[in-house]
């Protein structure tokens, strides 16, 4: 519990209208988009770097846990305050500070929502390519904290590839600036990479300098159908190896296509696996690249390949892809979206493993995801009120992570470890490696007040 005196000090820093200890609010801020929950003692909405710094100084002095929060759309429990304390919510820091089109850079505060940023950039012919499925609400700060990934990760990678610099408030309240305004720099340790994806455990971002990309001139989407996991895996790998440079490769298995078609009112051909390929670039480059892609996919075993050049037709296909998760969520009362990644030549094996493990544990699992990054979202539909079934779900998850690590993969490609995957980190790393992580955490946050209990 936090004393009234501390609450008053917080009110002095940010104003009483930006502090809440209302039990109603605290209950709501106990949740994110994961199945976990943990309740803060107080919610604070700062508006300046100086306020964040003062909050951290106070928390450091009083040894109060502080957990940063953006939109609360995290899928791994990142913004949930496991040890209570202060939920520091960054959604009131929403300024776009400095756009420099000639440098392809923009500087923003952490509460800027991804779609708002892209609306702002669009007239300049630029965009920030890392748009997760939640881009209508996800904040840039949250995306940096979780190293969020986009739908077009094959070409654009993840958040870490687009953050050039950060202003960070450290646990002791000191404000540091890491990174550089250049596209390359090797001056000292790469503290930007350390901070991106640190899930709010090392520092609080108050300014973020992002790299931008020009909006591609033309786009086409090819859809390909495969009868087996092995052929689908080849269809992913060979498309990338072929040099046609797809920007995104998205996969949906049969159960997902069925549910999504029904949900979105679309008629899609049924196949064991449907894969969408986005090809973007100069107008004249599109057609020859798509032709080559179709040939490669047929050789990989695709039973059919269709191409959508028109915006309307492309929108129809993306609508199906975007309907995947909501459609699945309507099947059963509880829906748990997993997030595992393997090297791109192991996608077929991962798909096979998921199917056989779901059968073994008698759990409903439907898989879709960013196959071109090797990152899939096996989605478990279940009922959290059924204890026996939840035990089977837990057993499936444990086996799934083991299988993923055996395939030289990772327990999380883009959602973060947070609370929900913490028990499985040791499957991927040995104690020696986790100890290095711990020592970094100790060096930056000796009192362990920033988002304690997460990751390690």
């Amino acid at each position: 519990m936090i004393s009234d005196a501390v609450v008053r000090k917080l009110e002095d820093i940010v104003g009483s209208e930006n502090v809440s200890t209302s039990p109603t609010d605290l209950h709501v801020y106990s949740y994110d988009a994961s199945i976990a929950h943990a309740t803060p003692d107080v919610i604070v909405w700062p508006q300046t770097t100086e306020q964040v710094s003062q909050i951290m100084k106070l928390a450091y002095e009083e040894e109060i846990p502080v957990t940063p929060r953006g939109a609360g759309s995290c899928l791994s429990g990142g913004p949930l305050p496991l040890k209570g304390g202060i939920s520091i919510t960054m959604t009131k820091m929403t300024r776009i500070l400095d756009l420099n089109p000639n440098r392809l850079q923009v500087s923003v505060e952490p509460g800027v929502v991804v779609d708002r940023l892209n609306e702002y950039l669009q007239p300049h012919g630029l965009f920030y390519p890392i748009n997760p499925a939640s881009s209508s609400i996800a904040t840039i700060g949250g995306c940096v904290g979780e190293d969020a990934g986009p739908l077009r990760g094959v070409k654009y990678g993840t958040t870490k590839n687009w953050v050039l610099g950060l202003e960070v408030v450290l646990p002791n309240g000191k404000v540091i600036h890491v990174g550089s305004k250049t596209f390359k720099h090797v001056a000292g340790y790469d503290l930007v990479r350390l901070m991106v994806g640190s899930e709010g455990t090392l520092g609080i971002f108050t300014k973020i300098n992002l790299r931008l990309a020009p909006i591609p001139e033309a786009v086409a989407v090819a859809s390909a159908f495969f009868d087996s996991a092995d052929a689908a895996g080849k269809g992913v790998r060979d498309a990338i190896l072929s040099g046609v440079d797809p920007s995104g490769i998205e996969l949906m298995e049969r159960a997902v296509v069925e549910a999504a078609s029904k949900h979105a009112g679309l008629k899609l051909p049924q196949a064991e696996f449907l894969i969408l390929y986005e090809i973007a670039g100069s107008k004249e480059s599109i057609e020859p690249r798509v032709r080559k892609l179709a040939k490669v996919l047929k050789e990989a075993g695709a039973t059919a390949v269709d191409v959508a050049y028109e915006a309307e037709e492309r929108a129809r296909l993306w609508k199906a892809r975007k309907a995947a998760f909501p459609a699945l969520s309507r099947l059963r009362p509880t829906c748990i979206m997993e997030d595992v990644a393997v090297p791109i030549d192991n996608v077929g094996k991962l798909l096979e493993a998921l199917r056989s493990l779901a059968k073994k544990h008698d759990v409903m699992v439907a898989t879709f995801g960013h196959a071109g990054d090797g990152d899939l979202h096996p989605t478990i539909t279940t009922d959290e009120r059924d204890e026996e079934e939840m035990k089977r779900v837990a057993a499936f998850r444990a086996d799934m992570y083991k299988a993923v690590v055996d395939l030289e993969g990772t327990i999380t490609g883009e959602h973060g470890v947070g609370i929900t995957k913490k028990p499985y980190l040791k499957l991927q790393f040995r104690e020696d490696e986790i100890e290095v992580m711990r020592s970094i955490k100790r060096a930056i946050d000796p009192k362990n007040i920033l988002n304690p209990g997460k990751i390690i």
Binding site: S20, S22, P23, T24, D25, H27, V28, Y29, Y31, D32, A33, W45, A71, G72, S73, T89, T91, K92, V113, D115, S134, S136, I137, A323, F325, P326, A327, S329, R330, P333, T334, C335, E384
Partner: protein, 370 residues
């Protein structure tokens, strides 16, 4: 959902369908203007779940979060699995009205009593409703309390337009019952059921076959909420539907005017009436029609339903509508709803370049070539 909302338990499935993804933040106006997640749709579903599972005893803050939802339904537009949040909130309020009536603001209790005792939600004597008109006995122009008490000119203008196009409906004046929306809105469901069946028998006994209304809230209440509890033997149409379907409206303005249209939540998102008001506006010569930045199913709630309870929050919402109109260069924001009109007018009063205008008044003026 059909069958009506008897208890929150009936909505357990809907509550569990909420993924807590938070996508509703992109729509919910009470969230946008407070940035407090307990004033967002997801927050309200969490609060409903806490009540359902008995984990939380409502207090004043809890009531404020639940009662400040305008039921505008934009969360459903943004919700991937299309959770019926507004219906969950209605069901939650019906529980709270039964179990925690003492926590309701006095304004609401008085408004509810006023409907039951005086046939209007404003606490004014029934005699303050507008005058009656004897017309065709089977066609009723259902004025609605807000227009009848505060904006009788809107009703008079509606009548002018209808008569000019060959329809002479009856207006009940003081005899017109309140549709009872405020009851169902605030959770007084048992009271609402009673009012619904009384209003329906009253209209049926009078031999009404067609009800035309200018009020989107009365329209939704009669056409949708009543159907949950009782069957209707008469047809219900919004004035804009009747004018487009049954009459050929033509009008002209003497001076050019740039007009935008605000979709009322109860007419647009709730009932799907988007095109008719636009067709009417576009049929007026000398009128240039421009869309608001957010229109049709994306339309922004004007805050009207919570203006009395939470005026500051409601004003931020209507300010946003007015700002949108200024952005697109409109000099008039037309709405076909008295609640929206009142809200928008209160914000437009601070801006010289834009005014609120009700649709019947504009149509009557266009008929006169005024």
């Amino acid at each position: 959902m059909g069958g009506g909302f008897v208890s929150l338990k009936d909505y357990e499935g809907e509550i569990y369908t909420c993924l807590r993804c938070g996508f509703c933040q992109a729509g919910c106006p009470t969230f946008r203007h407070t940035l407090n997640e307990s004033l967002n749709a997801r927050g309200r579903v969490i609060l409903a779940k806490l009540y359902l599972t008995g984990q939380y005893t409502p207090d004043e803050d809890y009531m404020q979060r639940v009662l400040s939802c305008t039921l505008c339904d934009i969360c459903k537009v943004k919700c991937p699995p299309k959770v019926e949040v507004a219906e969950i909130v209605e069901a939650l309020r019906s529980e709270l009205w039964r179990s925690h009536r003492d926590l309701y603001p006095q304004d609401i209790v008085e408004s509810i009593n006023s409907i039951l005792e005086r046939q209007n939600p404003f606490g004014v004597p029934r005699e303050q409703k507008m005058r009656s008109y004897e017309g065709e006995s089977s066609v009723l122009f259902f004025v609605g309390c807000s227009s009848s008490v505060y904006y009788p000119h809107m009703a008079e203008n509606t009548l002018q337009v209808l008569r000019a196009l060959g329809l002479n409906p009856t207006v009940l004046g003081q005899e017109e019952p309140c549709c009872g929306y405020r009851l169902v809105e605030m959770g007084a469901v048992d009271e609402f059921k009673r009012v619904a069946s009384e209003v329906v028998s009253f209209l049926e006994n009078r031999g009404v076959e067609l009800v035309i209304t200018n009020c989107p809230t009365c329209y939704k209440t009669l056409k949708e909420y009543y159907k949950r509890y009782t069957s209707l033997t008469f047809e219900v149409m919004h004035i804009t539907e009747w004018l487009v379907k049954e009459a050929k409206f033509e009008g002209e303005l003497s001076e050019p005017m740039t007009v935008t249209y605000h979709d009322p939540c109860h007419l647009g998102r709730s009932m799907g009436v988007y095109e008719e008001p636009r067709q009417l506006l576009e049929s007026i010569r000398n009128l240039k029609f421009v869309e608001l930045p957010k229109s049709r199913e994306e339309s922004i709630c004007c805050g009207g339903p919570i203006r009395a309870l939470y005026p500051e929050l409601a004003s931020k919402m209507s300010d946003e509508v007015v700002q949108g109109a200024i952005e697109v260069g409109a000099s008039q924001i037309v709405s076909s709803c008295t609640t929206c009109y009142r809200s928008i007018a209160s914000s437009a009063a601070f801006h010289a370049e834009v005014d609120a205008l009700d649709l019947p008044t504009l149509l009557a003026r266009a008929l006169r070539r005024g």
